[in-house]
Amino acid sequence: MASVAAGAEAAPGVVPRKRRFMERRSWIALLIFLPPSLILFTVFVVLPMIDAATFSFFNWNGYGPITDFVGFKNYDDVLTHRNFGTAVRNSLIVVAVSLLIQLPLAMWCAIALSERSVNINVLRTIFFLPFMLAEVAAGLIWKFVYDGNYGLLPIIGDTIGVEMPFVLADKFWVIPAIMLVITWKYFGFHMMIFIAGLQSIPSEVVEAARLDGVKKWQIVRHIKIPMIRSAIVISVFFAITGALQLFDIIIPLTNGGPSHTSHTIVTFLYQFGILRMKLGFGGAVSVLLFIACVVVALAYRRVLFRVEQT
């Protein structure tokens, strides 16, 4: 209240004094507004990444001083770890399946569901439902579906006369099984992005093409898809970064098994870095993952920039 009174006195007075007064005030505002987010972000997001880089050059078990400098040995250990290659390969498979199966499926559904004249909000909601579900719950639901004794898969196998393997315990089938779950879980999200993009296309454009006798799928191919390029670029970006941080859904499904064949980069980090408290090793994995993410993000910015230019 006191400050308001002081302001009222200053207001009719000389202009420069008033300005200086306001400047001081805006500094007070900045001191209230900025530190909470900056401190939290620095302490819990930025510093841990710097720590990870530091740890990665030491052999440290988490207690006492960090002294045992080992150079690049941790990186060497990670890169030559027999399961690291599998983890990277699996993460790349997730990217490939997302781009080649999930996004086209999402696009197919989005094209149908973005038609304004069709009132099928129910379907949209249904398709988006798995995305809202916690990964852990989705993983457990599908663990049941795949269960070799009581699940749905063996029953479907029986009806078509095929002996189904215990897919989650099978070194070959476990990856396709996980990919199906990932498609189930995430295609609705990409579909929503595409729908938002498709609905932002001015209807006159489509209408004009239609009056000119352009066929429906030609409109889709030559007008609609090119016009939502930026939505597609964003979808691709989310698919890639999502694949790089896949964790929650793997733990309930397979926990990385059988024989460590279904690890992703983050479950690998959890299994071999966190659970065994190998900070140097875990730090090296973190740094490699960080570099991968930054490369993807920078490449994405370039692509996005090019898309906006054209």
């Binding site: 400050s3 009222a8 207001a11 005030r25 007070i28 505002a29 900045l30 507004f33 900025l34 909470p36 987010s37 900056l38 939290l40 972000f41 302490v43 819990f44 997001v45 510093l47 990444m49 740890f55 988490g62 499926l105 197919w108 559904c109 149908a112 004249s117 069709v118 379907l123 249904i126 398709f127 988006f128 439902l129 809202m132 579900l133 916690a134 852990v136 719950a137 457990l140 639901i141 049941f144 009581y150 749905l152 029953i155 189930w184 729908i195 938002a196 993009g197 429906k216 930026s230 941080q245 983050v266 980090l269 959890y270 870095g273 966190i274 900070l279 730090g283 993952l289 993410c293 993000a297």
Partner: protein, 279 residues
């Protein structure tokens, strides 16, 4: 006339067919999960898709009466609510300062906070664990809240900042002319105007916190503080392949989230796609 009508039909039969197949693909796991809680274990094998022989809710009653269900949901709710309130405040304050107060370095600070969008939070999880241990935040719900707020700062500030920039400048200027300080402008002018974006950011962070697994997994030790994803993993570990019991627990655990989603759908979707598609 017939051809005109035909051309106007926007969705072809083939599309309808695939949509229905996909809908079945999405719904069947939910459907069997919901019914599985009512079935005996042998019944799962012989009668997977039909209705259960009896609608006896014995397992559901047992879970609802047990110690775990409500306490784990309540823990998750407390953490999610704390995260939403704090992150909304913190992020909107920062975004307000960056959007409306001119000062040297504001662009730099925005860029610094946006670094968080470059890499997923899981990347630094191991050093984060050490940091929380050194700060005495292990096994603490407040610890999880603070870290989740830190994780969400980048995206929340981005959404708020985009929104604040669109507000008419005259409004802020008028308030300034009336000798209203920035803190009061923020609280009495800007916040009431940005309820839609608060809802979007809030719902987004709530869902993220409600579903989060990795962070509580490494931070929480005592069972009394377990959030529901931890609780359900523990339940599953304990009952192995007693699927009817696990499915009943699953059904009860995901029901609040599904109900919430159906109510708040609009905000969830605008949060996810709004930030994305504009760019």
């Amino acid at each position: 006339m017939a051809t005109a009508k035909k051309r106007r039909a926007p969705v072809s039969p083939l599309q309808w067919l695939t949509l229905l197949v996909v809908a079945a693909f999405v719904l069947v796991p939910f459907y069997t999960t919901a019914l599985g809680g009512f079935k005996e274990i042998g019944e799962l094998r012989v009668n997977p898709f039909g209705f259960p022989a009896s609608w006896d809710p014995v397992r559901f009653v047992e879970i609802l009466g047990g110690p775990r269900y409500f306490s784990s949901l309540w823990n998750s709710f407390l953490i999610a609510a704390g995260t939403v309130v704090l992150s909304t405040l913190v992020a909107s304050m920062t975004a307000f300062a960056l959007a409306h107060i001119k000062f040297f370095g504001s662009k730099f600070i925005l860029g610094y906070l946006m670094l968080g969008l470059l890499f997923p939070a899981a990347t630094g999880i191991l050093p984060l664990f050490i940091k929380m241990r050194d700060l005495g935040m292990l096994d603490s719900q407040w610890g999880i809240v603070l870290v989740q707020v830190a994780f969400s700062v980048s995206f929340s500030v981005l959404l708020f900042h985009n929104f604040f920039k669109e507000l008419p400048k005259e409004l802020i200027d008028a308030a300034r002319m009336d000798n209203c300080g920035y803190v009061r402008i923020y609280w009495y002018v800007t916040l009431p105007l940005c309820l839609p974006i608060i809802a979007t950011v809030g719902v987004f962070n709530f869902v993220g916190s409600w579903n989060s697994f990795l962070l509580p997994l490494i931070v929480l030790n005592s069972e009394a503080k377990y959030t529901w994803p931890l609780g359900i993993m523990q339940f599953q570990g304990q009952f192995g392949s007693d699927w009817p019991r696990i499915l009943a627990f699953l059904t009860l655990s995901i029901m609040p989230a599904i109900a919430f989603f159906l109510l708040a759908q609009r905000y969830v979707i605008s949060g996810l796609t709004g930030g994305a598609v504009k760019g």
